[in-house]
């Protein structure tokens, strides 16, 4: 029985790992009419950046419709898609409040249409903000 459970867990893990970032969790719906997470990650790759470990966050935080979290060169990134502007406003404010509450070395919250980007550098991995600025510039072009 234990062996069967282990195999099942392994199978689930392999399945999760083979899933391409940005594809979304099973059952998770992307927002429409706004850049989707996969487009954001592609834009970063086109800019020469390497997004790592992006996985859907379930349930989506910050009143979002869909979110993925990962890192780029040590900078934590959260990309969220929203169904409407009201939810986006609330989500953005919640993220800012969280930055305020927890304290971050560097934090950015930025929106393009109804897609929200939150970048956090907690450990000074990007001391002069050049990586963050690259991420921001690519995101703004979407």
């Amino acid at each position: 029985m234990t062996r069967a459970l282990t195999i099942a867990a392994l199978a689930l893990t392999v399945g999760a790992c083979s899933k391409k970032a940005g594809d979304g969790a099973p059952g998770a719906a992307h927002a429409t009419g706004t850049p989707q997470t996969i487009a954001v990650l592609d834009a970063w790759r086109s800019a020469g950046l390497t997004p790592e470990g992006f996985t859907p966050v379930s349930p989506p935080p910050f009143v979002a419709t869909y979110c993925e979290r990962g890192t780029v060169s040590g900078v934590e990134a959260l990309v969220c898609e929203y169904a409407d502007d009201g939810a986006l406003d609330r989500g953005q404010q919640q993220i800012k409040d969280e930055h305020e509450r927890t304290g971050v070395h560097t934090g950015v919250t930025l929106r393009t249409k109804r897609t929200l980007l939150s970048l956090v550098d907690r450990e000074q991995r990007d001391p002069n903000g050049k990586t963050i600025n690259q991420l921001v510039q690519a995101f703004r072009k979407l």
């Binding site: 305020e100 304290g103 971050v104 560097t106 934090g107 930025l110």
Partner: protein, 302 residues
């Protein structure tokens, strides 16, 4: 005793600043220098963002809606990016940054910013720099006493200022032409003794300045030109002092304007006023600028 009190007060304020930044965040509107305690250098994030540290020198910032905006010259802070040369005070015209109120840069003389004036802004590119040729709003004069302190912040910094040919000052420029100042040095025109009886040495500073350029010593029939090139290693005049002392007659930066002249820091030339940036007649070389211009209007405007 006063010094001890000042030191203690400074330590308390520093501790308070560090303590405040340890909780919560500090908001920045765009790029800015990084304080030494944050590693130094420059932050290149050009959108609103937060840090867990405050600015190293608030005199270089403007606070708008709780956000710090860096209004200074990024050059001394290991900044590596586009730079555009400006001369004198001007409105801050960075694209994508909206203040909702007029915000002015009060840096005197030649300096850099990372932004270029947008086409609709009233600037003129002459002599290697952008000059603001529009009118200053009342806010400019109201806020100048407070925000001109940015020049004091730059005074001890040694860095390359842009080379600007002030002989080409646009007619519409209403700002000040200053004869050297924080961290940079300019031409100084020094009048030599005339025939007996020798009058006191007269020093003119302010017009015809070129960074790193020569100091022109003259005024008599046989002017002597003293080259004073420092190859951009301009020394702060406040902390380091000039190689030569400031002129004795109060015609240096910070002195009151001459009572009748249209010149800052020096009496007007004998052949009619309005002499701006050009050499005195018949004095020949030592200037990079254009020949003297007949009339440019006043160089001193408040």
């Amino acid at each position: 005793m006063r010094r001890i009190v000042t030191l203690i007060l400074g330590a308390v304020l520093s501790f308070a600043a560090v303590s405040a930044s340890a909780h919560g965040v500090v908001r920045y509107m765009s790029q800015h220098p990084l304080p030494r305690r944050a590693g130094g250098g420059f932050c290149y994030i050009d959108v609103p963002h937060v840090h867990d540290f405050g600015p190293s020198d608030p005199r270089m910032y403007r606070q708008v809606d709780g956000q710090y905006y860096f209004v200074g010259d990024p050059s001394p802070f290991e900044y590596q990016g586009p730079r555009y040369a400006y001369y004198g005070a001007h409105p801050v015209v960075e694209a994508n940054v909206s203040f909702g109120q007029p915000v002015y840069c009060y840096l005197q003389g030649p300096h850099y910013h990372w932004y270029q004036p947008p086409p609709q802004a009233t600037f003129e590119l002459r002599g290697g720099a952008y000059w603001y040729t529009g009118s200053y709003e009342p806010a400019y004069y109201d806020q100048r006493p407070h925000y001109a302190a940015v020049n004091e912040a730059y005074a001890p910094m040694a860095y390359d200022r842009p080379i600007v040919d002030v002989a080409l000052v646009p007619a519409g420029f209403h700002g000040e032409l200053v004869g050297g100042g924080p961290g940079w040095r300019a031409h100084a025109v020094i009048g030599a003794p005339m025939a007996p009886p020798p009058p006191p040495v007269q020093v003119q500073v302010g017009v015809g300045i070129n960074m790193g350029g020569p100091v022109m010593v003259g005024g008599g029939p046989a002017p002597v030109y003293v080259e004073r090139h420092d190859h951009g290693h301009h020394e702060g005049w406040r902390n380091n002092g000039w190689r030569e002392p400031p002129p004795p007659h109060g015609n240096w930066r910070g002195a009151p304007p001459p009572p009748h002249g249209n010149w800052r820091g020096a009496p007007p030339p004998p052949s009619g006023g309005g002499w701006r940036g050009a050499p005195p007649a018949n004095h020949g070389g030592g200037w990079r600028g254009a020949p003297p211009k007949a009339a440019h209007g006043g160089g001193w405007k408040r």
